[in-house]
């Protein structure tokens, strides 16, 4: 029988420390763990490039574990760099998580203790689902996201790339959260959020990113002239 490859855990923060400390449980004693702990998330890919290039992809798998810093771009830097170097990234699931067999989970994902991934749900690459979060039936969470502890994502919800859903947030069923959003004020959210929306206790109202090309956040346009009663 072949030995499962060792895991190289790279990063810092909550998920990094959680995986490091629960490793005996996660690996059931069968895999060795090697840690590359970063001091800072700035320019992370450059910081680890040399160490990554010394790794041998037949003997190890990696897991990029940086929290939601910079809308998950900091973690993507390491995960992306590892892929460029031909390293294989793994997905880690806490043994107490409940995962429906027909759900789909990408690579470099973490499913924390007690999390529930319902039937038909999908989780993109490099997305971290934290302790006790619940992803309901048919919900789709794109790549490079973060779902905080105790958050719930309603059925058929669609979440775009690089979204941060903070702890204890409840997204109502069927809504869409555009890419590059951060919702970090606990509560229930029942309407869709446009791309580039930020909800945070530091700001009394939502913050928006506008761009000249995607400035269209209005309702679908109806052609009024065409509807005019023509005689």
């Amino acid at each position: 029988m072949t030995q499962p490859p060792d895991l190289v855990l790279i990063g810092c923060g909550i998920v990094f420390e959680t995986i490091a400390s629960t490793w005996p449980q996660l690996s059931q004693g069968e895999r060795k763990l090697q840690l590359i702990r970063l001091d800072s998330t700035d320019d992370a890919a450059n910081a680890v490039n040399e160490q990554l290039s010394l790794l041998n992809n037949t003997e190890i798998e990696i897991f990029a574990a940086i929290d939601q810093n910079a809308l998950n771009f900091a973690r993507l830097e390491i995960y992306g760099q590892a892929r460029l170097l031909g390293l294989k990234s793994t997905t880690l699931i806490h043994p107490s998580a409940i995962i429906a067999p027909d759900s789909r989970i990408g690579e470099n994902c973490w499913i924390g203790a007690g999390a529930i991934i319902a039937s038909g749900a999908s989780i993109g690459n490099n997305t971290l689902i934290n302790t006790g979060a619940r992803i309901d039936y048919g919900a789709q969470i794109a790549a490079n996201c973060w779902v905080g502890s105790g958050a719930s994502i309603g059925q058929y919800v669609k979440v775009g790339q690089h979204v941060v859903i903070g702890s204890d947030i409840n997204l109502g069923a069927n809504i869409t959260v555009g890419r590059h959003c951060s919702i970090d004020m606990p509560g229930a959210y029942l309407t869709s959020l446009a791309e580039g929306t930020f909800i945070d206790s530091l700001f009394p109202s939502a913050v928006h990113i506008y761009t000249s090309k995607s400035a269209n956040k209005t309702m679908p346009q109806t052609d009024i002239t065409a509807k005019e009663a023509s005689k």
């Binding site: 910079a70 700001f203 990113i209 506008y210 209005t218 009024i224 005019e228």
Partner: protein
């Protein structure tokens, strides 16, 4: 010396109403960013001098109209920034690019307007001036020539620097419980920085500036409105950002740029790489919306994490603003009708100039 403004100027609703007429309805007021109106039918909405305004791109030309339908006053555009043809959601009237009613659904069956009546239905249009990527509006029927408010030199400076704006902008509005004038005075007052922002602004504190307060003003000379809006720079160690190689920055590196745009804008740039426009939008005598728009210099290579970068900077700017807000809100809540006016030292000459022009504007008879 004593300020010419009394505490009443910061709390009295009648004075506030007069300011809305004499200042915000007479002067050129910053309204928004040209960079976000580059597409046909891109628009922005604002309230200026108490009037709801829409500014929209009509086949390349930017125009400003009252944002109120000629039928029954519904707003024609709703969002702060968006893109949509000019038409009303209530009963479907649509408008031409000169603000006339273009079509009225069921006109013949329901309205019976004569051709003459229909011709007279139109939106009030306002004067606009586009300085680089900054849009200014003047809602007066007979607008002040712009050079009386902003010198040629200043307009040229604004044109140049704003030409470096990226078209991706993070924007928010922060309701604050103080009079708008307190915030404009606060940005003119560099001496508050070491006291109110000891941590956040440490690298900005410039000893030279602090030791060089101008001599007291010779009193008789009249202060011109156009002298209140100007640019200044100071040296500053600007942190090296990993993304800065991907943008075309403005001006010399390691420079902090600031532009005071009377009556209510402070526009700064850190190293010509990050630009922040702060506007103190008057809501009532004791309530101001501080509007923040922040962008980087325009990209030469795509920055994938740009939205995360903008969000990160906006959060740190908000923390700085909150230090000012805590102070100014405390100050405002203590003001009372017959309280003593401020007492200014030599370095506060600009506050005196602002007060002088303000009182002139308030007294000018229409």
């Amino acid at each position: 010396m004593l300020s010419k403004l009394s505490q009443k100027h910061y709390i009295d609703p009648d004075i506030f109403a007069k300011e809305q007429k004499q200042i915000f309805s007479k002067l050129w007021i910053f309204a928004g960013l040209r960079t976000l109106l580059s597409e046909p039918d891109a628009f922005l909405t604002r309230t200026i001098g108490g009037i709801p305004i829409l500014i929209q791109n009509f086949a390349g030309e930017i125009k400003a109209f009252e944002n109120q339908c000629a039928h029954r006053q519904a707003p024609l555009q709703l969002e702060a920034y968006g893109q949509r043809k000019l038409a009303c959601r209530y009963h479907g009237w649509s408008y031409t690019d000169d603000g006339h009613v273009k079509s009225i659904p069921h006109q013949e069956a329901l309205y019976h307007f004569t051709a003459d009546e229909k011709e007279k239905l139109c939106l009030r249009q306002f004067a606009i001036e586009i300085i680089g990527n900054l849009i200014f509006i003047n809602i007066d029927a007979d607008p002040l020539p712009i050079e009386e408010q902003f010198t040629d030199e200043f307009r040229q400076q604004l044109t140049t620097i704003s030409g470096y704006f990226s078209s991706q902008v993070i924007h928010t509005s922060v309701p604050s419980q103080f009079n708008w004038k307190l915030n404009f005075e606060n940005v003119l007052d560099y001496n508050h920085i070491p006291f109110v922002h000891p941590q956040t602004f440490k690298p900005l504190i410039n000893k030279a500036a602090i030791s060089s307060a101008p001599a007291r003003k010779a009193l008789p000379e009249k202060t011109l409105l156009s002298s209140l809006s100007y640019a200044s720079t100071m040296e500053m160690q600007v942190k090296k950002w990993p993304w800065q190689a991907s943008v075309e920055g403005f001006g010399e590196p390691d420079t902090f740029h600031t532009h005071f745009i009377y009556p209510n804008v402070n526009f700064i740039s850190v190293g010509g790489l990050i630009f922040l426009i702060q506007q103190f939008d008057p809501i009532s005598a004791s309530l101001t919306d501080v509007r923040l728009s922040l962008m980087t210099a325009r990209e030469t290579n795509k920055i994938r994490a740009l939205s995360a970068i903008l969000w990160g900077y906006l959060k740190s700017e908000k923390r700085v603003l909150d230090e000012d807000r805590a102070l100014l809100e405390g100050l405002q809540s203590n003001l009372y009708d017959n309280g003593k006016p401020s007492y200014h030292g030599a370095y506060e000459v600009q506050l005196q100039n602002v007060a002088e022009v303000y009182l002139d504007l308030m007294e000018t008879q229409p």
